[in-house]
């Protein structure tokens, strides 16, 4: 094992993950998730996160359909979708996504279709962005492991 390489990778990993927290992509819940990962479930975090992204995609599609027809928007269903998304995002610590949900809910409450559309777009953007970022993070992890190193525990709390 090339310890220098490992050390470098680990450093990279650490910096990257810290930046994600700092930029608000992730919150402490993500940190909690990482703590749950163990030998019994070495891919726990990536599995959970995949579930989340799948969920996002589904919910966004449903909400998009709800918003399609200008004069026939089912705000109730929309609200329900937003609520689910909010709950879901809180499970992985997807902070930005969650924040958009808050605004999204407000738009639903006042039945602001335009506002809802904007929020929907934003939520879509945010979750995809997070997906990319996390993918990079997981790649780094893999590299570390392949280099024989261990993934640093970065506790954000």
């Amino acid at each position: 094992m090339n310890t220098t390489v490992v050390a470098q990778l680990q450093r990279q990993f650490q910096d990257y993950i810290v930046s994600l927290y700092q930029q608000g992509f992730l919150d402490s819940q993500f940190s909690e998730l990482r703590k749950l990962q163990d030998e019994g479930s070495p891919d726990f975090v990536s599995e959970v996160v995949s579930l989340f992204f799948d969920d996002c995609s589904k919910l966004i599609n449903t909400m998009s359909r709800s918003l399609e027809q200008p004069d026939n928007v089912d705000f109730k269903q929309l609200d329900s979708g937003v609520h689910q998304l909010k709950g879901s995002s809180s499970s992985v610590g997807a902070r930005r996504v969650k924040n958009v949900c808050i605004s999204f809910k407000e738009c639903c409450d006042v039945q602001n279709r335009e506002g809802c559309l904007r929020c929907l777009q934003q939520v879509d953007y945010e979750y995809k962005m997070l997906k990319t970022k996390l993918q990079d993070l997981f790649n780094l992890e893999q590299q570390i492991l392949q280099a024989g190193g261990t993934i640093p525990q970065v506790d954000i709390n």
Binding site: Q29, K35, L36, E47, D55, H83, Q84, G87, S88
Partner: protein
């Protein structure tokens, strides 16, 4: 776990959440707590699992928002049918939501994101519930305390020993008893005799013996005891029961002069006494206790507004019971919560029809909880006029909250035998006695106070009367005006349907029941 090496390892948790991400996370977290976890994505599925293995879980954690069923509904079902502690979860921490959770019987409400540390201590809810139940039973004077505890063995009650944990059989009976004693009423001691539960049958024997002897004041406990021929009963038991019975009868005598149902609703001509007694009442529709058959007042008849009651009851579900008029009345149906059957109901319900929607359990617990504490004497047995509202509460109500209803225990309306449950030892026993005035009187062929039969279901008085009526016999039941208001009916907690585990009687039945003298007359 200082107490005894108790550990929550193996706690059987059922997690219900339609969010797959959360379900996975919670499962992981709970497993890390060394619990036995079952996950479920749908409320109906959860109910199915729970019903299939009635004794298969210790606690349920469910999200409030489920696609197929409102989480609160699930909560009610679980509480109602299975008497399991339920923890609600949501990403929404709005006061009204949390309130709703509490009202529907949730033992806790967690906000998402949920942390491990919160899950680590959920076992406290299971333990607490078990302790309460046992305490209730102990308090009720259930003589078969040990038996009951044995049965609880299967329910994974905590036990003694170092490696005891949920899911394992208790090793040590004594530990449990000890634990219970430690936990229970300070006035209780290990040397405390098991209380006698004066079931209807027992009381009948007592009364028969008394009659045989003649005038009750000539009857001595020893003689009565001999005549009763109940091996396990002691002279002391009889003596104290006799004392209460005498008091009760003397009050009845006085009550005869007043126009009232035996212990029932008082009509227009209430005596001044009524007024006093009523002073404690605040809620419309509630009447004060009729102490000893005479002074109940349902004077608030006209003020009764069923609606508030309905909603009030819902909101008060877990708080002080909206007791139906505290008319102490007797009624029959009073199936002693204290009877052994009560305990059955505390155990996972196996027979409760799925239709039920309320939370009997909650009621029962509180009800039973009521029993034991002498200090709690909510009923001032003797001084009616000085009753404050709190005191008016039936023994079965939990002051601390939780209406107590022993749904299972309610005799069927068709069960015309007034059930007398007299509890020995407590002032509460008195109350019980009062409830059964009618029954007792009848059995003794004594004159019943008149006028009660003037109750008709058509007048305003009905409302009141019905509300005052404790035909549901119980204590915790929130007595709603369900006689004439369909909408209310739908609002009523389904536990009212428990009346004998049957559907809610309709107005016609009421008349029937009244005629049959099932109500306190």
């Amino acid at each position: 776990m200082e107490k005894s090496g108790f550990s929550p390892v193996g706690l059987r948790v059922l997690v219900v959440d339609d969010d797959p991400t959360w379900l996975k996370i919670l499962e992981k977290m709970l497993k890390k707590c060394s619990y036995e976890v079952t996950t479920c994505g749908l409320a109906r599925e959860a109910l199915r699992l729970l019903r299939e293995r009635k004794d298969g879980y210790d606690i349920v954690i469910s999200d409030v928002n489920m696609p197929d069923m409102d989480g609160f509904k699930l909560l009610e079902h679980v509480g109602l049918e299975l008497d399991l502690p339920v923890i609600m979860m949501s990403v929404d921490g709005e006061t009204s939501r949390v309130m709703k959770g509490v009202q529907h019987g949730a033992c806790d409400y967690l906000l998402k994101p949920i942390r491990m540390k919160e899950l680590k201590i959920i076992w406290q809810h299971v333990l607490r519930k078990k302790l309460q139940e046992v305490r209730d039973i102990e308090g009720c004077g259930y003589e078969g305390g040990a038996d009951w505890i044995t049965r609880y063995d299967e329910a994974h009650f905590l036990g003694g020993g170092e490696d005891v944990s949920f899911g394992k059989k208790r090793k040590d009976f004594d530990f449990e008893k000890k634990l219970l004693q430690d936990e229970s009423d300070p006035s209780s001691s290990s040397s405390k005799k098991a209380r006698v539960v004066w079931s209807f049958e027992l009381h009948q024997k007592f009364v028969n013996a008394v009659n045989q002897i003649g005038c009750d004041h000539k009857a001595g406990p020893k003689k009565i005891l001999d005549l009763m021929n109940v091996p396990w009963l002691t002279r002391e038991n009889v003596a104290s029961h006799l004392q209460k019975y005498r008091l009760y009868l003397s009050r009845l005598e006085k009550g005869k002069e007043l126009k009232c149902y035996s212990g029932g609703v008082k009509n227009a001509d209430s005596s001044p006494k009524d007024v006093e007694v009523n002073s404690g009442y605040q809620s419309p529709g509630r009447s004060s206790y009729v102490f000893s058959g005479g002074n109940s007042l349902i004077q608030k008849a006209t003020e009764i507004d069923p609606k508030p009651l309905a909603s009030a009851s819902l909101s008060d579900l877990n708080t002080d019971v909206i007791m139906p008029p505290k008319t102490k009345k007797t009624r029959i149906g009073f199936d002693p919560p204290i009877s052994s059957s009560a305990f059955d109901s505390l155990l996972p319900w196996n027979d409760v029809p799925e239709v039920l929607e309320s939370k009997p359990v909650l009621y029962e617990n509180s009800f039973l909880q009521q029993q034991p504490l002498p200090s709690q004497s909510s009923y001032v047995a003797n001084s009616a006029p000085s009753l404050m509202e709190e005191e008016m509460k039936p023994p079965y109500e939990t002051p601390a909250g939780g209406s107590s209803v022993n749904a299972d225990e309610f005799p069927m309306p068709q069960d015309k035998i007034p059930t007398v449950t007299l509890q020995d030892l407590d002032p509460s026993a008195m109350k019980l006695q009062e409830f059964n005035t009618e029954a007792i009187l009848r059995s003794l062929n004594w004159e019943l106070p008149e006028s009660h039969h003037s109750v008709s279901l058509d007048t305003d008085l009905d409302l009141t009367w019905l509300q005052g009526e404790r035909f549901l016999a119980n204590t915790g039941l929130q007595f709603q005006d369900y006689s004439s208001s369909p909408s209310l009916l739908s609002e009523l907690p389904a536990h009212l349907n428990w009346y004998g585990n049957e559907r809610l009687p309709d107005p016609d039945e009421y008349s029937f029941m009244v005629d049959q003298g099932l109500f306190i007359s």
